[in-house]
């Protein structure tokens, strides 16, 4: 662990500070634009634009003979726009699919860029060291001027995102609806592409052609795990991107002489991994816990239903072995379910010979009755979903709701009786007749 002293020394070095602020600004702006690209399913477009920028930058250098970030930016934007037009033309006018078109444009543009790069080298303009940086990036060489450019571009991107937030949101979630409202969706899409090019180009210098893709996609993919809201996702994506930049830069100053760009990518990947596992709603851990809970509850319900149905039919006692033969439950889960029901005070176990008989308590019968009734009401509702209506189903997920709405209960009861599925036996303890006296 680094001591506070090391961190202080680290922060007091002006050069490191420039690099740190540069990479953080970079992560921030790529994170914001990347979130839109991610939602538009354009993640690979970042890859293409990063490669396609090379010929533009080379031509800018050949024409101006100067290593100026502004001209590089213009050249990269022009060739990026050309690349995305070419992809559109290829997919629209031939049977080539999008992914092939992406790979094709990426490699051909990059190959052309390499040709130009070697041309520049052979002409001996000498001063092409800045172009070499393009390939791998060199955050360690970031100087004040670069950081100022990065900073102003980052601010620009943030302001534009803020101003066009509603339009971009529409573009990401329902472009067709936006068009019907009269928004110029194609122009907006191109505009977003332009912003993506800008984000890619300012990243190239620090992270290099491949790694800049990670700065665009990975923080956005990580942020998506934590929230369902676009505005929060944008903020999170920016924060995670900035954090990756800071972490990567910090790691690279620890010694070992490791390159900053790849370390930033590894930091971003690590954050993505953490998000994937630990995010509260969509994370793997949360999903696994949810699944385990559902399995647990289903097992308990199955036992209660079996007890109730045996009683309803007037059949004999139910043993643990009966439950095991009827349901495909692992013996561990079955034991757990029985234990939980006993703990709730809903069932009792009596040993009879080598098997064990399960009987419900008063509370248990009531719970069983309620659960069976609910299950059967849901069952007839599903059979007559179109006639009965009522929103048992959640409109978004399609999952069934816990509560059956009051207003359709009478109809459902009639249907229950029609199908002969009404509960035949009612435990005496049931106080609140849910059916509202329609029965009979």
């Amino acid at each position: 662990m680094p001591s506070i002293e090391t961190i202080l020394r680290f922060l007091s070095d002006p050069n490191t500070l420039w690099v740190l602020s540069g990479t953080m600004l970079l992560g921030l702006s790529s994170g914001v634009i990347g979130a839109f690209a991610f939602l538009r399913k354009r993640s690979l477009m970042g890859d293409v634009l990063a490669h396609a920028a090379l010929p533009g930058i080379c031509i800018a250098f050949m024409l101006t003979g100067a290593k100026s970030p502004i001209f590089f930016l213009i050249g990269a934007i022009l060739s990026g726009v050309l690349a995305s037009i070419a992809i559109n033309v290829i997919t629209r006018f031939s049977r080539i699919k999008e992914d092939t078109a992406l790979g094709l444009i990426l490699s051909v543009f990059f190959g052309f860029g390499i040709v130009l790069l070697t041309q520049i080298q052979h002409q001996g303009s000498g001063n092409q060291s800045g172009l070499d940086k393009f390939l791998f990036g060199q955050s360690a060489s970031l100087v004040g001027e670069d950081v100022w450019v990065m900073g102003s571009v980052a601010v620009l991107l943030l302001v534009v995102t803020f101003l066009f937030f509603k339009e971009f949101k529409l573009l990401c979630f329902d472009a067709g609806f936006g068009r019907s409202l009269g928004f110029p969706m194609t122009a907006l899409d191109l505009f977003l592409m332009l912003l993506l090019v800008v984000a890619v180009v300012i990243g190239l210098q620090a992270a290099g052609v491949v790694l800049v893709v990670a700065l665009i996609v990975t923080p956005a993919a990580a942020a998506r795990y934590w929230t369902e809201r676009l505005d929060i996702m944008l903020i999170l994506s920016a924060i995670l991107g900035g954090l990756s930049g800071a972490l990567g830069t910090g790691l690279s100053t620890m010694g070992y002489n490791l390159p900053t760009g790849p370390l930033i990518v590894v930091a971003a990947s690590f954050i993505f991994f953490i998000s994937m596992v630990f995010a509260p709603q969509r994370g793997l851990l949360a999903k696994a816990l949810r699944l385990a809970r559902v399995r647990r509850e289903t097992a308990q319900e199955s036992i209660l239903h079996m007890l109730y149905e045996a009683r309803e039919r007037g059949a004999g006692p139910v043993t643990v072995r009966d439950v095991a033969t009827r349901f495909t439950l692992s013996s561990w889960r079955l034991q757990q379910a029985v234990r939980n029901l006993v703990k709730k005070g809903w069932i009792r176990i009596e040993s009879r010979g080598e098997d064990r008989v399960l009987t419900a308590t008063e509370n248990g019968w009531q719970a069983a009755y309620n659960s069976v009734l609910h299950a059967r009401l849901t069952e007839v509702w599903m059979m007559h979903e179109n006639e009965v209506g009522g929103a048992i189903r959640d409109p978004d997920s399609g999952a069934l709701r816990e509560e059956i709405p009051e207003d359709i209960l009478p109809t459902l009861w009639k249907l229950l009786i029609l199908h002969g599925r009404e509960p035949q036996w009612k435990p005496s303890l049931v106080q609140k007749p849910e059916q509202g006296g329609v029965e009979g």
Partner: protein
């Protein structure tokens, strides 16, 4: 000397284009791109373990990491990450790990990042193999040739299976073909071929050879056998024209070959007898004229 370069370039283009046809049909072109980056750590690890630049180890390491990359993409997609994002996240991570490994061990390893990634086909003729005193010719040619041979044997033996999986994976599964196994086999071959081609054309230009000849062939025919043959032809032509362009412009040979392949694609895109933009326009126009004439008469 020029002949050696042209032949090596053509062999790379044939080996990559052959597998590229299957990638294109299965819409996995960008996965091919991802693999060609993700094998970098495999090369370094193989180098560190074996301690030699022995190509067999490198091919094994690359195949392992190529498969790992495919596997990770699959897992992330199954976990609900969009497919395009899953590809980007996976390959950038593996590539970053590779670059870090290279710079960590750069003193012990003498692995030149520029060399691995950008290759230099111009050096191919000088790097020869001598076996028991017998001058066997350029090393790169043997390695690429071996990779091509491997692909031809594997795909040749399982040709029907590869074909059905390429066109209709669902039907293949219904027929009892192990789709996943074929998928991983293809990806393993792609990884091996990628690494075999690194030395001559470099990682990123391998992508061009994976995709461009296959895409060109895809525009010219509807039959897989013809597509494979045409992609090989396009590869050979790209190599010849590319070498010529590089002499003319005094520029990178591999880059020029890519540009040549791109130009051939543009020709097919415009003038393919089946799907060309200009061809279709002419056909439509003559049909319209015929219809007008028919209406008049």
């Amino acid at each position: 000397m020029g002949m050696t370069i042209i032949i090596t370039g053509a062999m790379v283009a044939i080996a990559c284009g052959f597998l590229g046809c299957f990638l294109i049909l299965r819409r996995l072109a960008m996965v091919g791109d991802a693999i060609s980056h993700a094998v970098l750590p495999g090369i370094v690890v193989a180098y560190l373990i074996s301690g030699t630049k022995d190509s067999v180890w490198m091919l094994l390491g690359a195949a392992a990491f190529g498969l790992l990359c495919t596997f990770l993409i699959q897992i992330l997609s199954q976990q609900g990450v969009q497919h395009d994002a899953a590809i980007s996240v996976t390959f950038t991570f593996l590539f970053a790990v590779g670059v870090i490994l290279v710079s960590l061990y750069t003193r012990q390893v003498h692995l030149d990042l520029d060399h691995v990634l950008y290759g230099e086909i111009a050096y191919v003729p000088f790097n020869t193999w001598t076996l028991f005193g017998w001058e066997a010719g350029p090393r790169a040619m043997w390695i690429v040739g071996a990779a091509l041979f491997l692909s031809l044997v594997v795909v040749g033996l399982l040709y029907k299976e590869f074909k059905v999986v390429a066109f209709d994976p669902q039907m293949a599964a219904a027929l009892g073909i192990p789709v996943l196994l074929i998928h991983y086999l293809l990806m393993g071959l792609v990884s091996v071929t990628t690494v075999a081609s690194f030395e001559s054309v470099g990682a990123i230009l391998v992508v061009a050879m994976l995709i461009v000849p296959g895409a060109t062939a895809y525009l010219l025919t509807d039959k897989l056998e013809w597509m494979l043959a045409i992609s090989a032809l396009v590869g050979i032509l790209s190599s010849i024209f590319g070498y010529w362009i590089s002499l003319w412009l005094d520029a990178s040979i591999a880059g020029s070959m890519t540009v040549a392949a791109g130009l051939l694609f543009v020709c097919a895109f415009l003038f393919s007898p089946l799907h060309g933009v200009v061809t279709r326009w002419i056909v439509r126009r003559s049909m319209r004229l015929a219809a007008i004439k028919g209406g008049e008469g």
